[in-house]
Symmetry: D2
Subunit: 387 residues, 4 copies
Amino acid sequence: MTPAQSYAKVRAHTEQICKPLKVEDYAMQPFSFGSPAKWHLAHTSWFFETFILKEHVKDYQIYDEKFPFYFNSYYQTLGERQQRDQRAWLTRPTVDEVYSYRTHIDEAMHQFLNGDLTEEIIGLLTIGLQHEQQHQELLLTDLKIGFSVQPFDVVYDTHPMIPDGEVLSNSSPEWIEVDAGLYEIGHDGDGFAFDNEYTRHKVYLESYQISNTPVTTGEFIEFIEAGGYENFKYWHDEAWHWLQDEGIKLPLYWEKDGDKYSQFTLSGRIPITGKEIMQHVSYYEAAAFAAWKGCRLPTEAEWEAANHMFSWGVVWEWTNSAYLPYPGYKKPEGAVGEYNGKFMVNQMVLRGSSIATSPNHSRPTYRNFFHTNLRWQFSGIRLAKDA
Amino acid sequence: MTPAQSYAKVRAHTEQICKPLKVEDYAMQPFSFGSPAKWHLAHTSWFFETFILKEHVKDYQIYDEKFPFYFNSYYQTLGERQQRDQRAWLTRPTVDEVYSYRTHIDEAMHQFLNGDLTEEIIGLLTIGLQHEQQHQELLLTDLKIGFSVQPFDVVYDTHPMIPDGEVLSNSSPEWIEVDAGLYEIGHDGDGFAFDNEYTRHKVYLESYQISNTPVTTGEFIEFIEAGGYENFKYWHDEAWHWLQDEGIKLPLYWEKDGDKYSQFTLSGRIPITGKEIMQHVSYYEAAAFAAWKGCRLPTEAEWEAANHMFSWGVVWEWTNSAYLPYPGYKKPEGAVGEYNGKFMVNQMVLRGSSIATSPNHSRPTYRNFFHTNLRWQFSGIRLAKDA
Amino acid sequence: MTPAQSYAKVRAHTEQICKPLKVEDYAMQPFSFGSPAKWHLAHTSWFFETFILKEHVKDYQIYDEKFPFYFNSYYQTLGERQQRDQRAWLTRPTVDEVYSYRTHIDEAMHQFLNGDLTEEIIGLLTIGLQHEQQHQELLLTDLKIGFSVQPFDVVYDTHPMIPDGEVLSNSSPEWIEVDAGLYEIGHDGDGFAFDNEYTRHKVYLESYQISNTPVTTGEFIEFIEAGGYENFKYWHDEAWHWLQDEGIKLPLYWEKDGDKYSQFTLSGRIPITGKEIMQHVSYYEAAAFAAWKGCRLPTEAEWEAANHMFSWGVVWEWTNSAYLPYPGYKKPEGAVGEYNGKFMVNQMVLRGSSIATSPNHSRPTYRNFFHTNLRWQFSGIRLAKDA
Amino acid sequence: MTPAQSYAKVRAHTEQICKPLKVEDYAMQPFSFGSPAKWHLAHTSWFFETFILKEHVKDYQIYDEKFPFYFNSYYQTLGERQQRDQRAWLTRPTVDEVYSYRTHIDEAMHQFLNGDLTEEIIGLLTIGLQHEQQHQELLLTDLKIGFSVQPFDVVYDTHPMIPDGEVLSNSSPEWIEVDAGLYEIGHDGDGFAFDNEYTRHKVYLESYQISNTPVTTGEFIEFIEAGGYENFKYWHDEAWHWLQDEGIKLPLYWEKDGDKYSQFTLSGRIPITGKEIMQHVSYYEAAAFAAWKGCRLPTEAEWEAANHMFSWGVVWEWTNSAYLPYPGYKKPEGAVGEYNGKFMVNQMVLRGSSIATSPNHSRPTYRNFFHTNLRWQFSGIRLAKDA
């Protein structure tokens, strides 16, 4: 594919995700950790305008001088911005106006991408497309939680583009043995990677075992029914307080009616059979489940060193590694330096990718990260233990 | 006018208010004390459906069984309801669907009102229309605050239906003298009144003076420039804490640029000339201003006893009376009893009416009430003092 | 009694109240609405030092320049002060040092009061003593709540100076009829009164009935057992939210064990027999109880107009009057003006006095006031109804 | 030393720390992260009573059945306990009673320790003593912050037992080079160590440089004066919000008056000369300082691998390692298992020890840990960088 074709394909996918929405649905922001769909649509366009068009197209005129304020996410280098938890306050620009903005950016980008492109431009384009793909996944998870708080089951799509809640585990759990020794992890520079995947470096691992398959809903139900949510000894101290403060007794989106469990999905509420791969757990829940099983979560190095020996890609998998810089990590200069480095504290790493991850947006070195209490991503559990 | 004509006229006025809105604007709810326009449109229809159609039309089918949950405001008698500060979470029903609901209710009401109507029905109809008129005023004030928090001046209407911020005072302030003696206040039963206006009763008033005209922006600017917002001695103790906690230094919607003051209105930001009647002050600010002037606010009895001697109707006027039951007040039975009585604590009474009050919705006995810190209504100040 | 004798007597009573305390108990401040005993002891002394010694004794030297900061309560006129909810942070001056401060003030006052005293001085002295008496009652109620939150029943005194929880009702409830007409309320200037009891003025009252006796624990238990705390229709809207938010199902200090009720008192936990006069209810609970009985609370004018026809003095009695200025009320100049006027918003008036009120500190015109959710005072209920 | 002698020595040291206190000072708890001195005194005794006397002394009678509730810190296994942020509510037992409790425990322990002791008992004794030493350091830091919030400089001791704020750096900063390679970290089992120091394991380190000396106040002043607290680019995103929310512009205990800096210490406020070793910084500040210097914090493995090449022991040194289990870590069974493991999330590791650390309570493998915003410990900065 040419750069222009890649660009067109990624951009179309974003709009495809929004296809089932009514105008009103574009404004959903029930929780401050998520954003309205309208904002995602505009922010991703602003990203191309700010980092490519404005910098590299001669005489380019900013589409609307107000948009940088509206649609900057967190780049302090780039000036003031709408407060995150007040993004839903913005009723203007309207959804139509945001689509016009996208069209304008797409036309300008199309023209630009059909010219001569330097390495640097290709690099920026790639970041822009990777960035938009990250927002595609967030769009799906933000929409899911937005629909879930409607008082009656309002459905994103009766046939959504991803098999939410429907991927069954296709193997019974077995332990993969990994020998102690020196391993290399991190990106080797072949193909795109984010700054946080560098530098590739050696780690020494003691021997360990890692499961060939993520935990299923059936296994998690055993934990629930064994009183897992009521027994402090499986939980971190702050996790236990979180359970009490929030009154949490089930995974996100789950309900229990008699002895039947169901979950809310992008196509509405569906029964849980026990065979599905578990999704939407917090780090706290993942760690507690592992403790109850007498196991633990793998570190990210353990995960990466063994990833070729198991299949992954249905859910992001919580690791027991904090999100910290690799040896030799360098924060890039300028606004792009705010992309990853400033979040490297008090979050945990997730590895792999999920059914909501966009096509061609996963690799074994990818380091996703979230706060330990968050569960609205498609996040699941893979067990490990000492050998 | 026939009942059906009255109904049609009031209902049309609500929709008239929404004319300038984009679909997205119907969802504005930046603060939990206000509601989205979509909700107002639906709630007022639900009121007719619940109290008239459902009760008095044979075989009437509820339009949608989910709507009572969505659109009940605070009637506990009528069951569970959407939490007030989460009304903006509802993206469905859509604006179009809400208009369809209104149309359905209007057709059913039209048919019903063209039949034989008992006294009781006329009574319920009147309450429903008065109720809708109250929401018309709230619609305007909720939209005003919703537009005001957009980061750039987005305008409700360049030629809004009401002269927001533009009514000038047409008389210089003079004191009206009122003699001590027994007065009667409260509604005498001639025409409609809410339950809280009953029973008409005697009050003894000491002699007092009351201003012939509300306070202007120019007078309020004198207060500001005399350091009124920085001097605790004019303020109630809790008002002083409110000022510090919220960082308040100006009336709502005001900005000061150099020595120029401007205010945000339904038609955007406009300069303040000093001649306008002051609007959007809290009780706290009204009382502090009065204290600075060496005056006080009138009680509601003083206001009512003298109201025929001055003109009112531009702003709701804060009184120094707490919102409490009149002697002989009876809370009606059933859901209608939740209309007024349960709010009779920790609020202050405002008298008169404002430019945003709907036609034919004001009378000298009307008791409006709000919490002492709220300022998004068209609320102003009339001074009084002991004789 | 000479002024010096009055002074000595009141001061001794304060120390009498603290007799049963250990040094540690002087620091109790579990809730920000109360204050540590040490603070009360010092603050009352500071009051005499600030308003009398410093102003009227030639060459008087402030005992310690830091004490005004420590022990000023809320007088903004008198400068910065320790934040109210951080009074317990102060471990110094120690209890011993505070007693030394009291001794110093007492000696200086004694010498001063044995000289020639002007009317003005007598007036200031009287305010100082009345003020100290108010703090005596607060001391008892602050100590009561401080002991109540100790995890095991720690007792203020096995034979406390007041019969906490033990005053039985000595008459069966009867209605006193009061005719409609003009009444005078407020203080006539004979003897001491606070500024808020002025000016005496006429009020017109419709005919009403008022109970000859306060509500008993037995009557309140009927309310509880009829589901009073679970039925929204008896409660103000904000009271209902208060119940839910705080999880309140019983009056303060009450516990229910099987079908037995008990209450925590200054002498520990004791059974409730049903005969005791009800104490420690909030305005919310008082109003809800009255609504359940088909009655209402009296206004303060109704209470005062009839007070000679019933006995009172066991509990402060909630009225349905907001704490607002009387006609002709003038806020005094200077710091003393902060005593009452600045609190005249969003509080309700209580009338009478309680078992914890100091001797000679009650009169029929006394206006006590608290926020509607507070219950740690000895506050009870007297019913009224329309005639 | 015999076990009984060790016990006596450690216990005496705790009481030594409390020597300068007035009774009132034992109740200080201005912030919920700290505890009152009285509580520390009792809790450490409860620890010996619970884990040794109660379990291993035949017919031992619990001193007071209420004390476990009062003085259990966070052991869920051992039942309900006083809420942490309400420890200051407890005025009883009094300070005297707590000392009596200590005496009782000491006598029982003395008798017990003079008998035959198994390995297990020695192990428990050692944990109890190490535990008490940890509380000795907390006592000093809790007292320091407690005295610091007194409105006027109240002093713990004019000649405190530790040289708070007075240790000067005795070497100019130089980089120590460390080669890449496999290192071993963690405790080898020789002498006491906490569970979190196990198991000793290999780590591969890239080559790096680490400073021979901690950062001084002079270096930190350069950061301040270069606008370090006002420039987002040195800070983690959540650190930047922390600065804004808390209004932080200086390290804890510092004040700036003109161009002079001073710090509050256990002996009161003293000038800062620029030569002192920097103390009382949060992880956020440590990381921001390092970023401003173009360096970084060492990981705990880097720190431990090089610790023999530099001197440490004045301040705890923040590392860039999250507090997570080592490979092979096993949480002990029972209550003791709550000691460390349940806190292994969202905290960062500090290495070394400080002037407030008790004698014989430090070793190169010790893993201290605190939340990233806390600064009331004697915590400082050592720089590292990639080779």
